[in-house]
């Protein structure tokens, strides 16, 4: 069975401070992991995916198979980063499941 855990329901960070949103997964094979973001009154959209190892809007995430984690990081938070963040996992069978999400609130 595949499972994603995002332990923080809400994370408040001051503008300019580093951000780390935690994501842990459980899966017996090699998963594909993503981060999706939902800004206020907008639809869910892809932020980044682990296979491309890219940096989007200053965010990065590294897949750590030993710790089964895929934490999202940004060195300096910006006010426009305030949003809901989700860490879905795609299994071999293309089933994609989501965690409960973390609300990131950037304080001025």
């Amino acid at each position: 069975a595949q499972r994603v855990t995002q332990p923080e329901k809400l994370l408040s960070v001051f503008k300019g401070a580093p951000v780390e949103l935690k994501c842990n997964y459980s899966y017996s094979g090699s998963p594909e992991l993503f981060w999706y973001v939902q800004y206020s009154r907008q639809r869910l959209q892809l932020l980044l995916r682990h296979i491309s190892r890219e940096s989007i809007k200053g965010f990065t995430a590294d897949l750590n198979k030993g710790e089964t984690s895929f934490h999202l990081k940004k060195p300096f938070a910006q006010e426009e980063d305030s949003a809901m963040y989700y860490c879905p996992l795609r299994g071999r069978d293309d089933k994609i499941i989501f965690g409960k999400g973390t609300r990131l609130h950037i304080l001025p």
Binding site: L46, Y86, I96
Partner: protein, 114 residues
């Protein structure tokens, strides 16, 4: 249109009634996913289609829920004998799984069962 379209955007119904929610995916996307999102929760997987067939329907909560995609494009999620606990936002997403697997979401259908 260019994006995933879901109708209706809002549906209010009475307990026990039948409801249909429609999803029009991005043209050419072979995979289509349905999720349910309750307040304060993440998207909960319901079912996904690859073409016309349901590849995985393990998330459908019970036999009151059913989904079809007869021509491999538009999909309809059908809920019979609605209950108050069915109230949620129902999200649809499509993907070209031959590519990078990115999901493109619709804006959702908000269902309220009174």
């Amino acid at each position: 249109g260019a994006g995933v379209s879901q109708t209706p955007s809002n549906k209010v119904t009475e307990k026990g009634k039948y409801v249909e929610l429609r999803c029009d995916p991005i043209s050419g996307h072979t995979a289509l996913y349905w999720y349910r999102q309750s307040l304060g929760q993440g998207p909960e997987f319901l079912i996904y289609f690859q073409g016309t067939g349901a590849a995985d329907d393990s998330g459908l909560p019970n036999d009151r829920f059913f989904a079809v995609r007869p021509e491999g494009s538009v999909s309809t999620l059908k809920i019979q004998r609605t209950e108050r606990g069915d109230s949620a936002v129902y999200l649809c997403a499509s993907s070209s799984l031959a590519g990078d697997g990115e999901l493109f979401f619709g804006e959702g259908s908000r269902l309220t069962v009174l």
